[in-house]
């Protein structure tokens, strides 16, 4: 498998603020995203997750300034040198708050904005807008005003606006953090549907979602990747995650709690189905 994204020993510090020295936000991050993978990125607040996301389309450091060391290659292109606009066609970033990323007053114009910036012919833009809105299930919403949509719908428009640029890599930076439970479900549903055609980096605090969607999990702590592996293994380390300020899926926590109290590793289930079966068996045993 080929790496679409290759980050090698990346260090980054934002420009120093008055009264505060420059601090490394990323401290030697290395990672690869292989074609077709869904990778979950977890980390406590301030761990450097959003900074890492912005480093993938070159906004960090090209627009933010500051000090940088190491390398970020997007499909072989150096993200420090190529224009952000060029990288944006390859890496699409969706931000946490859909409100602040809206630039237009209709859904259609919002989704068309990116392709327009690429100077695509009108027929191509039209096609992409239709396709992208269809992909997030909002085909009927073209002439609506984004401000009047529900939280989940807003975030789906934001995703469509990025999809319309046809990036192969999607970076979703806490896309569900400010949504109500149903909005979260809607957005996760969309992410699930995008999976077959995209390489996805899903940054989130929602370990439940990561456990269900991700092929691989990375945990960032104080600018360093401290855990990496398949979700099953990473979420099994309940105590370590807790020390890092993260919450494993509740079902895993339950298994951990039972094992701890019993003093033996009696249970190893990771979803509701497995838990029902295992606990049912234990109860009749």
């Amino acid at each position: 498998m080929t790496s679409l994204v290759e980050v090698r020993d990346l260090w980054y510090a934002y420009p120093a603020l008055p009264g505060v020295g420059a601090q490394w936000v990323l401290r030697g991050v290395s990672l690869q995203l292989r074609a077709g993978e869904v990778v979950g990125l977890l980390g406590a607040s301030g761990a450097g997750k959003s900074t890492l996301a912005l480093a993938l389309n070159g906004s960090v450091p090209q627009s933010t300034g500051g000090q940088v060391r190491g390398e970020v290659l997007i499909e072989g292109l150096d993200s420090k040198r190529r224009p952000v606009a060029e990288l944006a066609m390859r890496v699409g970033i969706v931000f946490q708050d859909p409100e602040v990323q809206f630039l237009q007053t209709t859904v259609e114009a919002e989704v068309a904005f990116g392709p327009e910036n690429l100077g695509l012919p009108v027929s191509e833009i039209e096609q992409r807008v239709t396709w992208a809105l269809g992909a997030v299930g909002l085909g009927e919403f073209r002439s609506r005003a984004p401000a009047h949509l529900s939280g989940g719908e807003k975030q789906r428009v934001a995703i469509a606006a990025i999809l319309a640029m046809r990036p192969r890599i999607l970076v979703l930076d806490e896309p569900t953090a400010s949504l109500d439970p149903r909005g979260k479900l809607e957005v996760l549903e969309v992410i699930r549907a995008l999976r077959p055609d995209h390489t996805i980096l899903l940054i989130t605090q929602e370990s439940e979602a990561v456990a269900e969607l991700a092929d691989r999990v990375l945990v960032l702590d104080h600018g360093q990747i401290v855990m990496e592996g398949d979700p099953n293994r990473v979420f099994g380390e309940v105590e370590r995650l807790a020390r890092l300020g993260l919450r494993p899926p509740e079902i895993r926590e339950l298994a951990h709690c039972l094992n701890r109290e019993l003093g033996v590793p009696a249970f190893d289930f990771s979803d509701v189905e497995q838990a029902v079966e295992a606990l049912g068996q234990a109860a009749v045993a």
Binding site: G46, R182, Q205, G245
Partner: protein
Amino acid sequence: MILAPRLEAIDLWFAYEAERPALRGADLVVEPGEFLALVGQNGSGKSTLAKHLNGLLRPVGGRVRLNGEDISGVATGQLARQVGYVFQNPDHQLFSPSVEQELGLGPRYFGLPAAEVEERVQRGLERFGLRSIAQRGPGTLSFGLRRIVSIAAVATLQPPVFILDEPTTGLDWGSASHLMDHFAELHAQGHSVILITHDMRLVARYASRVVVLSEGRVVGRGSPQEVFRHRELLQAARLQPPRIVELVERLVISGMEIEGLTVEAACRSFLTRYRLKHG
């Protein structure tokens, strides 16, 4: 022990825009010293309702009573002594050049003597672990810290009632549970806490009562247990109970005697039964 006031909102109507009322006859009672969760989808009127409890918004119809007295004639600046409000976005509530001064702002607005202000500030810095950044400008801090400062700055007002508007959004679980444990402690001392949140795990763990809003009206109320069991209500308000509640329900259906809304409670409940079986 703090004696919190009884708050009562009766048939509240309110509209930011005449064409779209945000509250359509909402009723709410907050008993002294209760930990109440206010839930419902984005735009259901949670914040709008809560902002009536300390007079930030005044209803176009209906009344708000504090210990039985109508608050319509009482200035918000006065009500702030009774009801503290932590807003959703920390950046909308940080006004001072340093964290230390930020914590003292409210007590100074109250006109407290300098020594008292100083004491409250010092206690707040200690309590919320902000000592090492006391001289930093709040604007230069990370989102997580700005949030903590915004909460600490309301805590120094020592109001009997706290309204927390999505206080954990953008925080990791470690910081979030640390923060909520702090409010659980205040609740134990007699403070009322009104928690607006989408996080049903917080509701399950901390709230003693839940009020569900939808389209500007209260559509359900009860213990977290009762609300999580109420399928149609959850559907109507677009809510989802925590995964552990789902599991416990499945186990109960399969004939097990298990209960609990949190991992800890379910774990204890199961072990009691499991150990019984093994004699």
